[in-house]
């Protein structure tokens, strides 16, 4: 165990996690905090107060040069070339087959496009993006030098505004501003993965600890706590947000994953367009749906879903819906059974548990400003 730990990377916030008594686990090549005081308490902190997540493991890739906007638009399914400066867009990036390479955020920063990708996919994504890049586009790896904190919860605005000023309050959902150059560069974005209002703050790694301390000082009057990856997962699952590697991967396409709203089939050519047009015309063969379960048994990834004993799908994510008060899951289901209200059964360790299809988000009570499912860890 020690041997594997020693090869793991650490984020710039590592010392703060240890000081807070976090339980550190290997995640996507990093030593990351899975929890501090406990997943349930941390989950509730984000739903009711302010939670601070170290998400520095996520990968930053910058596209620069005269062809950057057009190239970004060819890489991903959503529209990212003509969007105004200061806008962020959630989007899948697909293979020619329509399978999902990754899901990411694209920031429109001047004529650049800054892509923020999943940690576990970073090397794969970088190679993919470099291999398709035309002349006139420079692909910059900004992963190591960039630290990221997510400040999430109904009181996040007050905390972030105390640090970065009143313009924070004017940020629309999925917009951002940048400040400073070089080591002082900061990007503050009204985005998140929790279902609550919140911000993601990007700084250079050399400014990371100072930023962490400023956030906690600014949050002192409210309920503010560090939150681990465990609660990050239960929060996103209640919202029906996809987690790459669980709910989406290279064998799933965005249309069946319920991400059709991020696929612009009427825009110029992009990688995977032909395959996705064909899926659109034929209709998806399965659909990713949200479920709630009766009883207390939790459905885990891979659990079979049946309808009156006949297999109709498979669970991709499952946990306790802490704010819902019952177990929740997401599952790929045959389209006939994916409608809201469908009564199904989930096989959890040999036992049938009754389940109902519910709309995504499964938890509608969050303070987030848009109901759309968004991004991954």
């Amino acid at each position: 165990m020690l041997d594997t730990t020693s090869t793991l990377k650490r984020t710039p916030f590592y010392a703060r996690h240890v000081a807070l008594g976090a339980k550190m686990v290997p995640f996507a090549g990093f030593e990351m905090p899975i929890q501090y005081e406990g997943i349930v308490a941390e989950h509730r902190t984000v739903r009711g107060g302010v939670g601070v997540f170290d998400v520095s493991h996520m990968g930053e890739i910058r596209l620069q040069g005269p062809g950057a906007r057009a190239y970004a638009n060819r890489l991903v399914t959503n529209q990212v070339d003509s969007i105004p400066e200061g806008k962020a867009v959630y989007t899948p990036m697909c293979l020619e087959s329509g399978g999902i390479v990754d899901d990411l955020l694209v920031y429109a920063t001047g004529t650049d496009r800054l892509l923020v990708v999943n940690a576990a996919n970073f090397e794969k994504d970088l190679a993919w993006i470099q291999s398709h890049a035309p002349s006139g586009v420079t692909v910059l790896d900004e992963n190591e030098e960039t630290a990221q904190l997510a400040v999430q919860g109904p009181h996040a605005e007050d905390v972030v505004a105390r640090i970065y000023g009143e313009r924070v309050r004017e940020l629309e959902f999925y917009t951002f501003f940048e400040d400073g150059k070089g080591a002082d560069w900061t990007l503050v974005s009204r985005t998140g993965y929790t279902g609550e209002d919140g911000f993601e703050i990007y700084v250079k790694a050399s400014r990371a600890l100072r930023t962490w301390d400023r956030v906690f000082e600014a949050g002192a009057p409210a309920l503010i706590r560090a939150i681990g990856l465990g609660a990050r997962d239960t929060l996103r699952l209640e919202m029906g947000y996809c987690l790459y590697g669980n709910d989406i991967d290279e064998t799933t396409n965005p249309l069946e994953a319920g991400l059709g709203w991020t696929v612009r089939l009427n825009k110029a050519a992009f990688i995977g367009k032909d395959a996705l047009v064909a899926v659109e015309q034929a209709g998806p063969k399965r659909k990713l749906a949200g479920l709630t379960l009766e009883g207390e048994r939790i459905a885990r990834h891979g659990a079979e879903v049946t309808h009156q004993g006949t297999p109709v799908g498979e669970v991709t994510s499952g946990s306790m819906g802490i704010s819902i008060g019952k177990p929740v899951a997401m599952a790929y289901l045959q389209p006939d059974h994916a409608r809201t209200g469908s009564k199904l059964e989930v096989l959890t360790r040999g036992q049938e548990t009754p389940a109902s299809v519910v709309g995504r988000p499964m938890y509608p009570g969050g303070s987030v400003r848009s109901p759309k499912p968004r991004r991954a860890t």
Binding site: K23, G38, T234, E296, R297, I298, S319, M320
Partner: protein, 128 residues
């Protein structure tokens, strides 16, 4: 992390408290810490016959599910019904309020196969 000296342990992180012919069973402080917040425990009915080192139930935490293994063979005489409404007792009080089952031992000599507090702590050394 607490490892009370008067209890016996398994490598799978169950503990046993012996009272005459009866054994009380739960999971250790280390185990609850590794599992994180427990949300559901599935226990056998009173009267069920357990076999040493065979599974007798499951424990669902938010992040993961884990099997429970019987430290001793025998018949279940009681289960902790408090855990149904308050499974977090396993996190809060793993050796007391978080007990799971009581078993009337059919082969008390099996206790010799279990670990002492010292041996269990040594076994944990590999994790800690």
């Amino acid at each position: 992390m607490k490892v009370p000296p008067e209890l016996k342990y398994t490598k799978e992180h169950e503990w046993v408290r012996v009272r005459g012919q009866e054994a009380e069973v739960g999971i250790t402080d280390f185990a609850q810490g590794e599992l994180g917040d427990v949300v559901f425990v599935e226990l056998p009915a009173v009267g069920t016959k357990l076999t040493q080192m065979k599974g007798f139930g499951t424990i669902d935490a938010v992040k993961t599910v884990s099997d429970l293994f019987a430290p001793v063979s025998g018949e279940v005489t009681a289960i902790n019904t408090e855990l149904k409404s308050n499974p977090a007792l396993i996190n809060q009080s793993p050796y007391e309020k978080g007990w799971m089952v009581r078993v009337k031992m059919s082969s008390p000599e099996e206790l010799e196969k279990l670990l002492s507090s010292d041996d269990y702590q040594k076994a944990l050394g590999a994790h800690a």
